[in-house]
């Protein structure tokens, strides 16, 4: 039966949707006109703001910094799922992220999952993750994290999700996905069972494990894969660990990062997107731009050393506020290979790390400074 009248909320939501739909059709200049007019109307009506939030990106097409905005993809990362009946909280968080992404309008071209879908690499955990991620409306690209791998050395993960290393082209941008969490064998000599090995790797501050590497095989593969590309080709690389060195004790670190960077050096712009660190993390080495992903499970504290200069830290998470510091996000890719990185914090305002901030080496359009810095 059709409702006879629309509630205040329904009308409000409809008006808001129409407002945003219209805005999307505008270029930047007319957007300013419209928003000024809207502000005037709301002020005249004695209202505050038309909505409680502002859209992050509206102007499509050419940008003042040059380069065309090509497309955008969403990201979800680090859900650390246990089995459903062991821990429901982490599963709920991943479901929340999937809902977030499914609500994006227009839908992103694809969703990138940044690794550590499971906590202990168990079949039931990975299957639960696959089951939740199946609800995404757009295609999924997924990367391996160390928590997915070290129980059965990737057997179940590969059965569910395919290759851990691959490359593809999307709308003129070359994407590469690496397995960057390869550790030297520390388990055989100690006679560890698979679960002991997994639990050792799963402890961030566990000193028995070895540093992460990409390894010589993948480096050779990467070199060959990129061979055919021109120096000004846009390249985006996904790696679970940051492809640089922050703090070895927590494996915020890739041991052969220098060698990998040497392969990427010749390109005009390279964007590296990594999981593992569960925080806002930004770095630039030469023309390689690094962005960390937020986790859905829990936020990590910032490492006690090695913090990159460009990183604007996120406000320290509030322990009394469940899921604070967690979230998901979007990445707007430009035709020159640079990105706007949008962190969609669940309990905070979204934060964008813009390409202008990156290309000006932090001089322009920086994200907001934290109002509660780390201790």
């Amino acid at each position: 039966m059709k409702p006879r009248h629309k509630s205040v909320e329904t009308r409000y939501m409809e008006e808001r949707q129409a407002f945003f739909d219209d805005l999307k059709k505008l270029d930047r200049r007319s957007f300013l006109k419209v928003s000024a007019a809207a502000l005037g109307i709301t002020a005249a009506n004695g209202l505050v703001a038309p909505t409680s939030f502002q859209p992050v990106k509206l102007a499509y097409g050419a940008t003042p910094e040059g380069g065309e905005k090509s497309f955008r993809f969403a990201y979800i990362s680090d859900s650390h799922l246990y089995e459903k009946d062991v821990n429901d909280r982490f599963a709920r968080s991943l479901m929340r992220a999937v809902d977030d992404v499914n609500r994006l309008e227009p839908q992103p071209d694809f969703v990138f999952y940044g690794g550590d879908l499971a906590q202990l690499g168990q079949a039931a955990e990975l299957e639960l993750g696959a089951q939740i991620l199946k609800n995404l409306k757009v295609p999924l690209k997924i990367m391996v994290g160390e928590h997915d791998w070290y129980l059965d050395m990737g057997e179940k993960w590969q059965a569910l999700f395919g290759k851990p290393t691959e490359s593809w082209d999307h709308k003129g941008v070359h994407f590469v996905k690496l397995l960057s969490v390869i550790e030297e064998d520390f388990w055989t000599a100690r006679g560890m069972k698979p679960m002991e090995r997994m639990q050792t790797v799963a402890g961030l501050d566990n000193g028995v494990q070895k540093p992460f590497t990409v390894g010589p095989d993948q480096r050779a593969w990467l070199k060959k894969d990129l061979e055919k590309l021109a120096d000004d080709a846009p390249v985006v690389v996904f790696s679970h660990s940051p492809l640089y060195k922050i703090y070895k004790n927590w494996n915020f670190w890739t041991d052969d990062a220098d060698e990998v960077q040497a392969i990427l050096k010749r390109f005009k712009n390279v964007t590296v997107i990594h999981g593992h660190t569960h925080q806002m993390l930004t770095n630039r080495i030469g023309n390689i731009h690094f962005h960390g992903l937020l986790a859905t499970a829990w936020p990590w504290p910032y490492a006690p050393e090695g913090m990159p200069e460009l990183t604007v830290q996120m406000t320290r998470p509030d322990p009394f506020n469940p899921q604070d510091g967690c979230g998901d996000g979007e990445v707007c890719v430009y035709s020159d290979g640079m990105v706007d990185k949008i962190h969609n914090f669940w309990n905070r305002n979204p934060v964008t790390v813009t390409r202008a901030y990156m290309s000006s080496r932090g001089r322009q359009s920086g994200p907001a400074k934290p109002n509660r810095p780390a201790y």
Binding site: Y82, D205, N249, P301, P322
Partner: protein, 215 residues
């Protein structure tokens, strides 16, 4: 009834009781040897004697505290970075031992202090990193958010926590975390596990100036 008859009957009753008790005790010791473990509750219900009770308690303690490897301290120190306690070897130098009641310090004193203190901190690290020891119902342990006890800032307590409606000590925040993210049962303030957790968290912030009340 005559007085001496009554005495005889009383004596007989006592003898009977003693015999029953004796038999019960012998039986229970035998039963304990045969059947092995008995729960403390069973023992308390009066089925066995004093030795049985002591054994049952010991047995329960052993079940709750499984045998650790002889090198558990070294093993835990290999797994997790532990800040060492202060070095007190300076006490062995110069005119030490004069003007205080402790007498002469020996190397054994210094060794005992540091070994015992560190052992408590290492025990804290073990609990901090174990969802089982913490009694988590969701397999969550402290280190999942606080690697190397980072971001626990014990130096900022006591401080007023509006969410708790009172001034919180470090142990109140530990218990808050145990009840909420860890979803376990809070520890008493003098629970050995709570004491060990506090010891580990303080130890990891060695060198940080105290700054109580900081938000």
């Amino acid at each position: 009834m005559r007085k001496n008859t009554r005495s005889v009957l009383l004596a007989a009753l006592c003898a009977a009781c003693a015999a029953v008790l004796w038999a019960t005790y012998n039986y229970s010791v035998a039963a304990d040897c045969d059947a092995g473990i008995q729960s403390v509750a069973e023992v308390a219900a009066g089925k066995v004697g004093g030795k049985g009770l002591a054994d049952a308690h010991m047995d329960q303690w052993k079940r709750r505290n499984p045998v650790r490897s002889k090198d558990w301290v070294a093993e835990e120190k290999e797994r997790h970075k532990i800040q060492p306690p202060a070095d007190n070897s300076y006490l062995l130098k110069g005119e030490q031992g004069k003007g205080h009641s402790y007498g002469q310090y020996t190397e054994l004193d210094i060794l005992t202090w540091s070994r015992e203190t560190e052992k408590m901190v290492v025990e804290g690290s073990r609990i901090f990193h174990s969802a089982t020891e913490l009694g988590s119902t969701v397999a969550v342990s402290c280190d999942m958010c606080h690697p190397d006890a980072a971001n626990t800032h014990p130096e900022t307590y006591p401080k007023f926590q509006a969410q708790m409606g009172r001034v919180a000590l470090l142990r109140d925040m530990i218990n808050w975390c145990i009840e909420h993210p860890v979803r376990g049962k809070r520890f008493e303030a003098d629970d050995p596990k709570m004491r060990a957790l506090e010891a580990y968290i303080f130890a990891q912030r060695k060198g940080t100036p105290l700054n109580y009340g900081k938000h």
